[in-house]
Amino acid sequence: MKAMEGTEYTGMFNRVSAILKVLKHLPERVSEEDIEGLEHLVTGSLAATAKSALAPRTRDSTLAIFDSLIAWLEGFERARRDGKKIIMTSLTIPVELFYCFKNAYPVTNELITTLGGLLLEGKSDRYWDFAMGAGLPDTMCSSSGVSIGANIMHVDFQPAAVASGYPGDCDTNAKQQEFLAQYLGVPHLMVEKPVDDSARGREQYLKSTHDFIEKLEDLLGEKMDEELMREVAENHNKGAELYWELSDMLRLSPCPVPNVAALYVVAVGLTMWGTKEGVQSIQRLVDASKRNLEENDYQEKVRSLWCWTGFYYDLWGFFTWMEERGITYLGDALSILFPNYIDTSSRDTIIEGFANFAWDYPMTRQMGSPSMSATWTDDIIHSAREREADCVFFAGHHSCKHAWSIFSIVRKEVMKKTRVPVFALEGDTWLRKSMALDAIKRQIEEFIDNVVVKYKAKA
């Protein structure tokens, strides 16, 4: 298979990086005039994204995320200059692990895909098409499929390895990561989630994590640095406290946490969890939400819980549009984390802490469970009750074969046990082409107007 043609400036990572670097020049306090100017500078969907990202209720959170993403990007560039090994990693591996090495730097597939979808004119469609051009099936997952399409152009950077925690909790992504490693001719390092919630299953998961670390240490030619491990674990613990604070604020009505915060939490979790930039970002999300709480001018009408993913390629079309209609986004499965407290007393306790956090990662926790439907149902019911949801949406990505395979049970059980109405949407979380967002918006409105409002009135 011939490598896709491309130049330095056609690579998705390079294009996204260039835009982030421009955003670095935004002033610390962005005024309405600045935003107006920005809208004239960029066009089409990008202008809508910019306007949405910098809407008053969202602005501080967005600037916080921009700052940390820029810091992460600068870290990437430093790492390359210093000859560190870049590891292409993915959603289900604790990104903290890589920050415990002096000689490694992580780039997360799903983050690159998401940034491409948000920041690029034409979204990330072109890179998906490259993946299709290589013969990959259109039923696979776009979360890393887009990034794979970008990677096989060989113009951004060459990772030293591909890391994946998908075996056991998502077939399609597990296979995609293996394919990418094979295609690039680099090692494929894995953690397997056993479909076993017993103590034996946890022990097996820990063994798999240790096995992964050993392989990574061999690749990098260094042991995990205990000083760095402690620093990362302490940052993890600070991040966990802040996350729970943010989570508590999601229970308030009207909700002070902007809708888009869910996406930003995912970005931090995937990219810089365990770093000081990660802690700062969550701190700023908390602070921004507190300011919203003080201002208290949000007209909340409906509180919606998204039990799987959301739609991540159009901030205005999805998050801000809902907010303008008083529809609160209480989070989705990707942003509902279960960060634990890590005991930093030894190397082993820290590794166990990372593994415990990853055990409860989105999707790993539910689809890697011996009963996917029971675990997922429990999680939805817990979140719906805790966050006082008026309705639950399932954004059913066609590639989520596991979720779709048991969603019928989940819907039935959630509605039976909570009476909260549940609605299934079809569409691709990262690609606009499978279903127009306008059609999705119409369905959301119809469901809320005809079902949720009546349910709320009865309740």
Binding site: D171, T172, V195, Q204, H402, S405
Partner: protein, 375 residues
């Protein structure tokens, strides 16, 4: 066993609750359903229970199953679930789930949610081979043995396990002999016949399957296959579509080899070994899956296909997979690339399981492929 008896036994592959299983049940026998070749049937047989691999013979419409599995799930699993929900599989005394793939997991979960078998056991199979995953799988087999033993009040002794292992070894050597008949220069058995035999074998006990194979080998050694255009190998996802294989052969492409789980992947590369029966079984099964659900195993899968293709002197390989089966769909891209690098022509077909609507399209693509490879 005469030709008529052979035919009768082979016909068992056309019916889910076939006469063989009816007779077994009438005699008071128990039947356990399983869905994946990662299930060590030796343990079930050692308990005196008939292991029955779940199939969707007849490719039913899936209106009941579609209320549970979605249209984004593989139709093979939907068709199996349909038969589970419509009562066809009510003769089963229990189910053994394996985490084969996301579709299969969903199929079993829904099946159990609706039908609520008294015996439902989840056998957890690791996704890669290491010493610690082998240890885990051995423990899993011990749990499966204990669960069957407890529920059905039977003792599963080591001796019974060793005897069941020996019977499977015997089966394996006979199946290899059968496969040699189609790999030879003038094949004497067709690919559709082989799939049908394997489907039959997955619903009768090993003792009777051994007898069937002995007789079949005698008959087939003398058989003759009419002219064909090319020798093909078939690889891909789980299917019991005897009719599909027959359709390919009707175009002139004789299937002389395969890498299917209703085919060679179910038995070919199981290593010899000794020791405790559970360790032996764990090792044999975990290291023998040759399925893309396994990781760090691609080169072994590729080598297996290359060696088989060379032995059977195939003119080309067809890789087919069910729509939405990403494990095979993604793997097929690498396989195609690596096989074509070795000048082995490859046709990749994404298909809907059991869909008559696909037949014309498949026929045309196979015909074009045969023309391409000069058949």
């Amino acid at each position: 066993m005469n030709k008529l008896q052979i035919q009768e036994l082979q016909n068992q592959s056309e019916d889910i609750f076939n006469q063989y299983v009816r007779d077994w049940k009438e005699k008071g026998g128990k039947v356990l359903g399983y869905g994946c070749v990662a299930t060590p049937v030796e343990i079930i047989e050692a308990a005196g229970i008939l292991p029955y691999r779940v199939k969707a013979l007849g490719h039913p419409d899936t209106e009941l199953a579609d209320a549970y599995l979605s249209r984004f799930n593989c139709r093979f699993c939907r068709a199996c679930l349909q038969l589970g929900l419509d009562g066809t599989y009510d003769f089963l005394d229990g189910l053994i789930e394996v985490n084969s793939c996301d579709h299969m997991k969903g199929m079993f979960e829904n099946w159990q949610y609706v039908r609520k078998f008294d015996f439902f056991h989840y056998l957890k199979v690791p996704h890669y081979f290491r010493e610690f995953t082998l240890d885990y799988f051995e423990e899993e087999l011990a749990l499966m043995r204990a669960a069957i033993s407890r529920h059905f009040s039977v003792d599963i002794s080591d001796d019974a396990l060793h005897a069941a292992i020996e019977r499977q070894d015997e089966l394996r050597s006979k199946l290899k002999a059968l496969f040699a008949l189609r790999e030879q220069r003038s094949p004497t058995i067709s690919g559709s016949e082989v799939v049908s035999v394997l489907a039959t074998g997955s619903s009768i006990c090993s003792e009777d399957f051994n007898a069937l194979l002995t007789s079949l080998l005698e008959v087939k050694e003398q058989a003759n296959i009419p002219d064909f255009k090319a020798r093909l190998m078939l690889c891909g996802s789980a299917t019991d579509e005897v009719d599909l294989v027959g359709e390919i052969e009707a175009q002139g492409g004789l299937i002389v080899a395969d890498a299917l789980c209703f085919g060679s992947r179910a038995f070919w590369a199981k290593p010899e070994g000794s020791g405790s029966p559970l360790r032996l079984l764990a090792d044999r099964y975990l290291s023998n899956l040759l399925c893309p659900r396994m990781f760090e195993d691609y080169s072994r899968r590729l080598d297996f296909i290359i060696e088989t293709a060379a032995r059977a002197k195939v003119d080309g390989i067809i890789i087919f997979f069910n729509k939405f089966c990403d494990l095979h769909g993604v793997d097929a891209v690498s396989l195609r690339r690596d096989l074509e690098k070795r000048d082995i022509p490859v046709l990749t077909i994404e298909k809907e399981y059991g869909s008559k609507a696909d037949t014309g399209r498949l026929r045309t693509r196979v015909q074009a492929f045969l023309e391409r490879i000069g058949g």
